[in-house]
């Protein structure tokens, strides 16, 4: 059943969405799918050259995971805008040390409805969203606006 405007109220949370642990393979797949081939996301020699410790996930991949959280809750045609500010870097899990690195690479998306209003003849909601890793570090904060039936 589609979520309707009357089903939700300010302060309600959307279902929490937790990703699989991000691996380097996921980053390579996303690079190919999106065309974002910044070597920051896959090339360890570039990482060393710029003095960082590890490749990091594309900020916009984390936003894509947030997009998954949204579209698993509402029909994506209802989406009117989607904003994300990238707050911290996400290092992928190391396959040879999953025990200690899964937490930093596992993303949970949560969201809370902050506004209900009418605009352009539509009933709209604004929902703030946050992405955090399993260690509690905030990766992204933003919002989406959706029109609900």
């Amino acid at each position: 059943m589609a979520i309707t405007y009357d089903d939700v109220k300010i302060g309600d949370t959307i279902p929490t969405y937790t990703s699989a642990p991000i691996t380097r393979t996921h980053l390579v797949r996303y690079a190919g799918a999106s065309g974002d081939f910044n070597p920051l996301h896959h090339d360890e020699s570039f990482i060393k050259m710029i003095g960082m410790d590890n490749v990091i996930a594309h900020g916009i991949l984390i936003m894509g995971i947030a997009g998954e959280a949204i579209t698993s809750w509402i029909d994506q045609r209802n989406l009117r805008s989607f904003n994300a500010r990238f707050l911290s870097m996400t290092e992928p899990a190391d396959l040879n040390d999953m025990e200690h690195t899964t937490g930093r690479a596992t993303i949970t998306i949560s969201g809370k409805i902050v506004k209900k209003y009418e605009e352009n003849g539509e009933k709209r909601i604004k929902c703030d969203i946050v992405a955090k890793d399993a260690l509690g570090s905030r990766k992204l904060a933003g919002f989406f606006i959706a029109a609900l039936p």
Partner: protein, 157 residues
């Protein structure tokens, strides 16, 4: 540091077809899946999309990013054109405004310009100013309809 003379610059408009298989590939990628059998069939099966009420196979919300990179040598082309140092580049904010729907087979024209360039007033931890560049992109379909607007904020550390 980004080349300030590029403020207001428009990148060459670019037209591309939204390929069906590219949508599935993207949906698998943002779902952190291994195979399209693990994603929502609306992203690869037209019948499933129609049953769900879509006119065709839709694109995931952040698919817009691929319009950004599929031309002009992708990211490297953009960075070079703006005089940004790739080793210092960070994507700091992204915003989409959805004005219509995009489906597999649509022919999209991407128009992108340098909307803002400024030095953020606050210094970073190392006492340096941070250079900010904001790109605004319009996504227009084959019927001339503006279907999405994208605002991308990039920083140089």
């Amino acid at each position: 540091m980004a080349d300030r003379s590029k403020l207001g610059m428009e990148f060459p408009a670019y037209t591309m077809t939204v390929e069906k298989s590219k949508i599935a590939e993207f949906a698998v990628a943002v779902g952190l899946k291994d195979d399209k059998a693990q994603i929502d069939p609306i992203y690869y099966d037209e019948e499933a999309a129609k049953r769900a009420g879509y006119e065709g196979i839709p694109v995931p919300p952040t698919f817009m990013t691929s319009f950004f990179f599929w031309t002009g040598e992708g990211l490297m082309g953009i960075v070079k054109a703006l005089g940004i140092d790739l080793s210092k580049l960070l994507h700091s904010e992204e915003e989409y405004e959805f004005l219509g729907n995009i489906y597999a087979g649509d022919v999209i024209t991407r128009k992108m310009k340098v909307a803002e360039m400024f030095e953020r007033g606050k210094r970073d931890r190392l006492g340096r100013f941070v250079d900010v560049t904001i790109l605004e992109t319009e996504i227009i379909n084959q019927r001339g309809e503006l279907v999405a607007k994208v605002r991308s904020t990039m920083m140089e550390r």
